[in-house]
Symmetry: D2
Subunit: 442 residues, 4 copies
């Protein structure tokens, strides 16, 4: 990392026009004393130009109000922004929310769960995003090879897997708001401050389990499981429907599931709920699309100079703050424990050593160092392995543009699992997303 004399850190945010960016800006502002960001470059594509400028204007008002010397830049050319960057965050959406609406509605039309990061929808988001992310990573390797790339684009786990397997730099970390949401949910459940709670996280992105929960360092896992069994929620992240767990099941499971596990342990109920939303034209992407529009209206307000409270309902709360926290810990070698997506390296002994996992790690200037979690409990190992197989085949399909591998990935996904219907679904989705899948249509 370059010597900092009269200058601070340079951050580049690819997808800077995202509605999440104000949280990121707020995160940098409140940490300014220990994390002296001097330049924040917001990068976006032509289609996002208008949003980018709205965000940049708001950001400038925010730093002005906070009276910190962070300069905000915008560009549509990431290669202009990257040189000299210390950290690059990526929060892109290839195909914008329209593509997400398709990811959710088309599977539902065929009777399958339609979701942004799981099943057919998650696979297509990966197929569209991975080639773009790899291109960004290539530019980083050329223009700012020492920078850390912090990705919070979904599906974060598959993107980390792709970066580890096909990427150009090693300094790539994936982030998600789900684990931090669980820790905050547990803290809320206990009525204590977040920093008194720690959870041992192990698994994959959106497939992560809390193996142990600690309050002031004491293991209180059983108590939290009992709370879950009695219908309490242990997650502050409300991205998906929050149906109660079956008490006997959660007790036998013995670990804390994440909200997304509902797709795998409550498959029918989740599907029914989604099908109702589908009929009403209210699948999550459609709801988010409306929320986004409202948010940008709010952001345009020249009098707004803080992150507006409405953003927290957006679903991705804590994402950007988690990113700032991570950047801060790397920059200051804090050695605190955070759950991130990184190379397994034996931390979860039952998963391949070279694959991407989501795991509690000590965050150092040299990057995340996963804590040894041992074997996954037998009851959850199988599902995690199955999703890892799906992820690995999907990543290969995305990289190679392979129709056969995409079909294979879809069929081995436990939310699809039906070969002939999978093929029909695949063909329709490929056609729908054709514009963003050049590798499949060359």
């Amino acid at each position: 990392m370059k010597e900092l004399i009269n200058m601070g850190l340079k951050i580049v945010t690819i997808g800077g026009g995202s509605s999440y960016t104000p949280e990121l800006v707020e995160g940098f502002i409140k940490r300014y004393d220990e994390l002296p960001v001097s330049e924040l470059w917001l990068v976006d594509i032509e289609e996002g130009k208008e949003k980018l400028e709205i965000i940049a204007d708001l950001a400038r008002r925010m730093v002005k109000k906070a009276d910190v010397p962070i300069q905000i830049f915008t560009t549509l050319d990431r290669r202009e922004a990257l040189p000299g960057a210390d950290f690059v965050t990526t929060q892109i959406r290839v195909g914008l929310l329209d593509a997400r609406i398709k990811d959710e509605r088309i599977p539902l039309k065929h009777g399958f769960i339609g979701q942004e990061t799981n099943g057919a929808g998650g696979m297509f988001k990966a197929l569209r995003t991975i080639p773009v992310i790899l291109d960004i990573n290539k530019d980083i390797s050329e223009l700012c090879p020492d920078a850390w790339m912090i990705n919070f684009t979904n599906p974060s786990g598959m993107i980390e897997e792709a970066l580890l397997k096909y990427g150009y730099t090693d300094k790539v970390i994936g982030l998600c708001n789900v684990p931090i949401g669980i820790e905050m949910g547990v803290a809320k459940l206990l009525g204590v401050a977040h920093d008194r709670v720690r959870v041992d996280f192990a698994g994959l992105n959106h497939m992560v389990f809390g193996l142990n929960v600690y309050l002031d360092g004491e293991n209180i896992t059983k108590r939290i499981i009992d709370d879950l069994a009695s219908g309490k929620s242990a997650s502050e992240v409300k991205n998906i429907n929050d149906i109660n767990w079956e008490p006997d099941f959660i007790r036998a499971l013995g670990v804390i599931p994440c909200p997304y596990h509902r797709y795998y342990f409550m498959r029918d109920e989740m599907l029914q709920t989604e099908l109702e939303e589908f009929k009403k034209g209210e699948v999550r992407a459609e709801v988010v699309s409306r929320l986004e529009k409202e948010l940008f209206e709010i952001y345009k307000d020249k009098n707004l100079d803080i992150k507006p409270p409405q953003l927290e309902q957006r679903g991705g709360a804590y994402y950007s703050d988690a990113a700032c926290r991570l950047i801060n810990s790397i920059y200051n070698d804090k050695k605190d424990i955070q759950p991130v997506n990184t190379r397994n390296n034996g931390a979860i002994t039952s998963l391949p050593h070279d694959c991407a996992v989501e795991v509690s790690s000590v965050i150092t200037k040299d990057g995340p160092k996963p804590l040894s979690m041992g074997e996954l409990p037998v009851a959850v190992n199988g599902l995690v392995q199955q999703i890892k197989s799906f992820e690995r085949v999907t990543v290969e399909a995305a990289y190679e543009g392979s129709y056969e591998k995409a079909l294979l990935a879809l069929i081995i996904n436990p939310l699809v699992a039906s070969d002939k219907k999978a093929k029909i679904l695949l063909d329709e989705m490929l056609e729908a997303h054709k514009k963003y899948l050049p590798k499949f249509f060359k």
Copy 2:
């Protein structure tokens, strides 16, 4: 093994009244020259007494016709039969076919696949059978500790898992007719004799894959995959509906699935087919029940002194012959390669070393020695891991009589995967099988 002077081998068959037994008898007759069986003890329970005598009478006519000095004994007390046994085969059905009918119909009633060895049905067959099998194994450990126990009771993989984890002797091998059926199917496809074909099998029982196919030692896997893709069948075992594989899928899969994989890769189609059978009162168990009755009518015929050809339609063809082949190879230290269920011991590197797997093994007098298969291909590893998790939790549930673990097993099974419906299903099935689940109702 005892010295054979004027005496031959003693075989004890628990569940001797099974309709399969004539195949077993035929197997011993045709191998008599190298496998000198002198005593075959057929053991059954009180409810099976009539069938037992029908089978024993047929067996006596068969050995008489073949002019081999195999003596047939019957008993309802296995402890009378076991002393001095060299091999004990187990082919029991706790709850008889009535229980199987429930295993198939009750899940279907709730919209889940109902099947003898998979999903809820497979789990309940395991819950009923494991305690009984462990008791048999305990008797063996006392009365004939050097005997090999050859199990072909379903679900064969979970039973092997239970025997390895909770059993009293190490000499336990599980058998299935699925892999041998695939080898024979490939041979038929190629129009060659079975012994020119060899398949590298790796996976779990009813979850086994053919990783490589050889003709006269040459790897012809790709050619067989292409045959499968063009709609040909590579299995001689017709226990389940033989729907064609999706060509692009099977090519991307790259290995030979077993017929039961249809439940996981064609979930919807298989369910629809079963639901139609359900409505007609023709689920597999009901069909088998009728076939059984017809078979026993045939067996009663005093003029019948060979295995009747109708047995081959029964579904379990080659099971008993596979058992004779295995016994022969152990007894004569043949060192030929056969797929069996045994302790993994590193043969499939991605599965725990101590778990039961179905794997091509060299058969020696000292038992099966698995061939190293390396890692499972990434596309299939996940599903195999998931079923292994299900198996391990089920085995614990059976051993402990744990309601919570049974519920957990059901929910992590990819054919169920819905917690609230799983609980309803579990409760109904527990009640239906109450008589055979003493550990759950103590």
Copy 3:
């Protein structure tokens, strides 16, 4: 851990009459504000009674001088001391220094390296100590089952291995001053404060490597290797002869060895050096024996009320301070990183998951959580594995009192490796230590 209202922590130190104890007392005094020890029980055996009282008196003067309310107790009956303990430290020497003199001199007499923790000497120290340590652990499991047992009795790695394999409680941690000595040595080399340096430690006790060295979080391993190659020392612990490393070797090794690696990478030179000391009657144990006597003379001085500076020359410097630091981090859930001996649990992927390793770990109230270190570099993996084999066979020999396993352990040790001479050596050492090896002479 019990609620602390008006009371502080209770520490029990088995082997309290050790010359190291003043460092321990000093450690508690200087941490009193955050680690409120109210009772320190010093336990020793009859033969150590006089030393125990000298130490206890000094300790009382020290706490008085420091004006902290730590009460010092002594007893010859550990079962009197243990009830209610929060932490039990063990620093015993079965057979006292006389036994160590034999451990060093007898092997040298036969031309083998004679050393407290390596080779034949290390093995005999383990054989004498393990049964006693297991008895202590058994008492802890009965009298204060929630207490953490912190062992710094040598050979610390084999003792941890024995506790993990045969012990009665899980809360057992082994400590050594070698890794902390390396960190301090590196800091000294760099001229910076210790807390700016961090080393990734992985291996076994006295067989640990520094895989990476960080200054303020930046990886400076190569720079430190170059320093070692140019003859600088990276260890503040001077227990053994500090011969320079061969520059080309250390560069190819690529990681930081610990001082004890000289026995394995400079076998001949170390042996020659020791043989000279042997002839002069100045083997390390003899030197230490004299130092001890001098120390106790100093300790007797009624005017002494601090840890005397002479103690730092004793060889075990930082041992006790490391123990206090560890206790403090557990008590206060500090989540700092310390190297300890604990269960591997996958942290070093190339070693068995259940064995004892020495590894950088995050220290929490719930105990140490090892950081994932991945595979050991190929160049050092072999030696570490070999010593782990030696350790495991030795631990079994100690537990079973097995002559054959003791012989086996000696022969597979790379410092012995000669079967007939090993047997002669073994017989002589067994006879010499007969009194302390009841399991071998029953």
Copy 4:
């Protein structure tokens, strides 16, 4: 493999002028009925031209006497011989016996064991041979890519490791006469035919253990261990001094060591024995050099038309026969069990999956399929790991021509283990072998 219509197999033997070749020719003659070799190409280098012609003439007399239509060809240009080859055997000696004399004498001069395949001598043989073997393998990949390469050049394990890591074709198998010698030794001990005995071999080349011994399929390991303990020999291979094992040691070891283990378990005695031979100018290479000269005199005899009995004393007995046996089993898809050097692939779970091991394997037309051996016993795992580390570092040193890695390999070898002396030794040996180490002197 090509279709055989009017033609038989083509074998190419690189190093055809070796004194072992008559055994190879005999092996092909006696198997002619099932292994129809039509062409045997003997290839050698200019310096070996005279020997090559002597051998070729003898071979021609042998096939004529046996009346089999095997044609013998000679060439000094392997690229002339390779096209169309079905099997290529390699039995080369880079630097001839003069180099081996240096490999043995120079280490002994410095007080280290001097041996062809172990310690410094083994390392230098690897450094000289690996680049040449890789070149041969490259030619094979171009000129006869479907051919199997069967290497019995020493050090066979490191060469297999190099071929697996840096080679151009996958069809590479390493052979050694040590395991077959043990099986034959056990058979002799028992007074039974070789084919009634089977040993489970696992380990590395010249570092292989017999984990279990079977007579007619029954496990008689304990009985053989007792025989070894009572001073009997279980090896027919007499390459090295056959000192008796210490009875208590061998019983505790519990597995059958190979003769070369004496270097690691009887280090001092072996060194003393060698030092005496050194003084007398009778190190093994010198003895062999004389034997070779005598053999070639015998081979020249125009009346000799069989393999002369004197060859069996040469030390490498059974090597060539083992090669013929292996070729025969591959060609005829025999599926018999033979110990070979091949990729581990999980067969020995405690070793890396991708490294070369020596392990009992089923030999098929598709190559060797290792039997799962599970974990190595703890007592031997360490030494095997250490030698594997040495092998891997040596292979890298050979490939890269790295002085530092060569020094590292030497120091981590347990027969050297002394850094400063290792450097002196390394420098002297590099100079002595300069001509054959172009990568180190570029």
